[in-house]
């Protein structure tokens, strides 16, 4: 806290503090954002400028060729679709099972609640890499290797702790007698639920959905292990291979990276308040 003393020395120090503080902030923001900006620059310059030494700081020869190539590349398009499907379905399944479980944990009484929560929490400590071999064998036997199902099932398991944790925190915020109050006013249970609980819980569920979606979108290990071809592989698997397998240049890889990240960044920026409160609510209150 800046000291609130009224002496001149204090005021001077306070002004200096403020300046330092803002300088520090600028540096911090710059360092966080710089890599994204630089890779963006890499994606919009011509090949010759890309390979120029020393590297140019401001783009001089701008070319949309890389972006056009990437956006038109069928592998990339399929990868975007695959990512969307995998992340989307995982989110829906997690929300469904997670919200039921979270409701029970946050608003109902039962013995062994602690055990249940511990087990669910334990998954977030679980080293997923430890089970890729057994799962690979089982999924092969089930015939779902190289299909969405293998990754969706596995992602769901590892996203559930996050989903449940967040939803528990959100549900706990709802006033305890909400359902009762509504019913006292003459609403049936269903109406109470729909008109009272749902609107209040919606922001929490929505935030949870976003965070779960981001988690599933960013997942790499399982996608890399269980999926083999472009009809199923999401962007996290396809893009590292971009420079050596699907195309032959770094400009395209840069463009693909930016294309994939920008929507996430926009999403995060728009919903930053919610996201931050969601993440910290879980940490502090949970």
């Amino acid at each position: 806290m800046a000291s609130a003393t009224a002496t001149e020395k204090g005021a001077g120090r306070s002004a200096l503090n403020m300046v330092l503080f803002y300088v520090f902030l600028v540096i911090f923001v710059f360092m966080s954002v710089f890599p994204l900006l630089w890779v963006f620059k890499m994606s919009i310059v011509t090949k010759t400028e890309l390979y120029a030494t020393p590297p140019t700081f401001l783009p001089q020869n701008i070319s949309g060729a890389e972006w056009a190539q990437v956006l038109g590349d069928s592998t990339f398009q399929k990868a975007l679709i695959n990512s969307s499907i995998i992340a989307g379905v995982t989110t829906v399944i997690c929300l469904f099972f997670g919200s039921i479980a979270a409701y029970a944990i946050s608003r109902l009484r039962f013995r062994f609640k602690g055990t249940v929560m511990t087990l669910i929490l334990a998954i977030s400590f679980f080293p997923a890499v430890a089970i890729i071999a057994p799962l690979f064998i089982q999924y092969t036997q089930l015939g779902i290797i190289d299909t969405y199902a293998s990754v969706i099932i596995t992602d769901t398991v590892f996203a559930l702790p996050l989903t449940i944790w967040l939803l528990v925190a959100f549900f706990r915020e709802l006033p305890v007698d909400l359902e009762d109050a509504a019913r006292v006013d003459g609403a049936t249970t269903i109406q109470a639920f729909r008109k009272v609980i749902v609107p209040l819980a919606a922001p929490g569920v929505f935030t949870t959905a976003i965070l779960t979606f981001i988690y599933a979108w960013n997942e790499f290990l399982f996608a890399n292990t269980f999926l083999f071809d472009e009809n199923t592989q999401p962007v996290t698997v396809v893009i590292p291979n971009f420079a050596t397998i699907y195309t032959v240049d770094y400009g395209a890889q840069a463009a693909a990276s930016v294309i994939v990240t920008v929507p996430l960044v926009i999403l995060v920026l728009i919903f930053q308040r919610r996201i931050v409160s969601g993440l910290t609510a879980g940490a502090v209150k949970g």
Partner: protein, 445 residues
């Protein structure tokens, strides 16, 4: 926490299912649809069709056109369907291996990398083609890929098109520096690379693929073999003989490319992708790569033209023969296919003289049939084919291919790269390889 003895809590609890019920149905339907749709992985097999698996076709669609021709000829009997596989051979191999492990798959004919037939044959996954492909026919093909497709006396693949390592030189730059011909020995290469890059102001002297991946193995083997060493006493079996003074000397030369300054340290991280644009942009005097690069010169953004480049065999250590690592593709037939005769019809067609000639002219592919390489029309279409033929006939050797080549390759990738970067000495590298490869070979018994 509220006591809910009136049961309302229970109902409220159950009621949440309402909203989520819709979600669940959606998820369930989506899930079922996905499971169903993607479960068979885009197959097209089943009765009446031959499934041919291969990576994507080239921009000229050369083999697609051949498939169309074949299908026209066999209209009403059976058709061939191309099932597109990953471009990356590693991924493609993984996919095939997983399908075979799961019980056979629907693929009938496999377009596979030249190092696969033996690995698949050892597991019994591909068919013995000896009856349809006798020695008299085999002789019409280049010997190296035939050897790489033979396992325990039987042949398991029909060679398709071939690659071999070549040395590319910027003849215009060499002339400037006072040289009239490409180097024939490694020492000459180093000397010429250093002097030419200095005289002409070219950024790099020599580029090649040194990363710890399959291509790195191909590169390093060329050094080992041109010094008189080798990995196995026989390309597909035999004893591990890598621990020899010759092999160590080969790796010594490999490392010296960097220590002498002829090649930048970065080559220890290069695959074809990193080096291609650099050479094609004019940044290097010499380049080791596959024959396909020649066709790329002068196209696109890049500056170097074909007239400026000459191609020659891989240099040697004096007193030894040149050696190029063999690359390329072959045809195999799934041992579990239920249409073996039809599958062979297709393979026979695709490996016929006409089909090979078509692909050579259309796509620039170097076919495995020897006669093709002498055909004047083909020679006109592919300027490097004369040289490629000599190299393929005389100098091309396959990588050592055994049942566990995958693991052997991993060992070699790692040790060769370590020797290149100087993390281990060449002597240590060959000793470690001797030990580890012997262990792997033992498992094959």
């Amino acid at each position: 926490m509220t006591e809910r003895n009136d049961g309302s809590g229970v109902r409220a609890g159950r009621r949440i299912n309402r909203r989520d019920f819709l979600k669940m149905s959606g998820a369930g339907l989506a899930g079922a649809a996905l499971l169903g749709a993607s479960g068979c992985g885009g197959g097209g097999g089943g009765s009446g069709n031959i499934v041919f698996s291969m990576g994507p076709d080239d921009p000229n669609k050369s083999f697609t056109k051949l498939i169309d021709k074949f299908n026209k000829q066999h209209k009403g009997e059976f058709q061939v369907v191309h099932r597109e596989m990953p471009t990356d051979t590693g991924l493609y191999f993984d996919k095939l291996r997983t399908e075979f492990q799961a019980g056979g798959g629907e693929i009938d004919v496999i377009g596979g990398d030249v190092i696969w037939p033996i690995q698949f044959a050892a597991q019994g996954w591909v068919q013995d083609l000896s009856d349809n492909f006798p020695a008299s026919e085999q002789n019409k093909f280049l010997p190296a890929p035939i050897a790489a497709s033979t396992y325990e006396g039987a042949i398991y693949a029909v060679p398709w098109f071939e690659d071999a390592g070549l040395l590319y030189s910027r003849s215009d730059l060499l002339e400037q520096a006072g040289y009239s011909a490409p180097p024939e020995t490694w020492d000459e290469l180093k000397e010429m690379a250093l002097k030419t890059s200095q005289d002409t102001g070219t950024k790099y002297g020599f580029l090649f693929q040194g990363r710890n991946y399959e291509g790195g193995v191909c590169n390093a083997l060329e050094y080992i073999r041109t010094h008189g060493g080798d990995v196995l006493s026989d390309v597909t079996s035999g004893k591990v003989i890598i621990d020899s003074p010759e092999a160590a000397a080969g790796l010594e030369t490999y490392r010296s490319m960097i220590t002498s300054g002829a090649a930048p340290q970065a080559v220890s991280n290069y695959t074809e992708t990193e080096g291609d644009p650099l050479f094609e942009n004019g940044d290097s005097v010499f380049f080791r790569e596959w024959p396909g690069v020649y066709g790329d010169l002068g196209s696109g953004d890049f500056k170097v033209k074909q007239e400026q480049v000459s191609v020659s065999p891989i240099p040697v250590d004096p007193g030894n023969q040149s050696s190029s690592t063999l690359g390329g593709w072959t045809f195999m037939i799934n041992a579990q296919t239920d249409m073996p005769d039809e599958a062979w019809e297709f393979v026979k067609f695709m490996s016929s003289y006409e089909s090979f000639k078509f692909r050579a002219i259309e796509g620039g592919y170097i076919s495995a049939r020897q006669a093709i390489l002498d055909d004047p029309e083909v020679q006109k279409a592919i300027p490097t084919v004369k040289l490629a033929k000599d190299v393929l006939l005389d100098y091309a050797t396959s990588r050592p291919v055994t049942q566990f080549y995958g693991d052997m390759s991993l060992e070699m990738q790692s040790q060769f790269n370590d020797a290149l970067t100087g993390d281990v000495t060449p002597q240590q590298a060959v000793e470690t390889l001797q030990k580890n490869l012997t262990t792997i070979m033992k498992q094959a018994d």
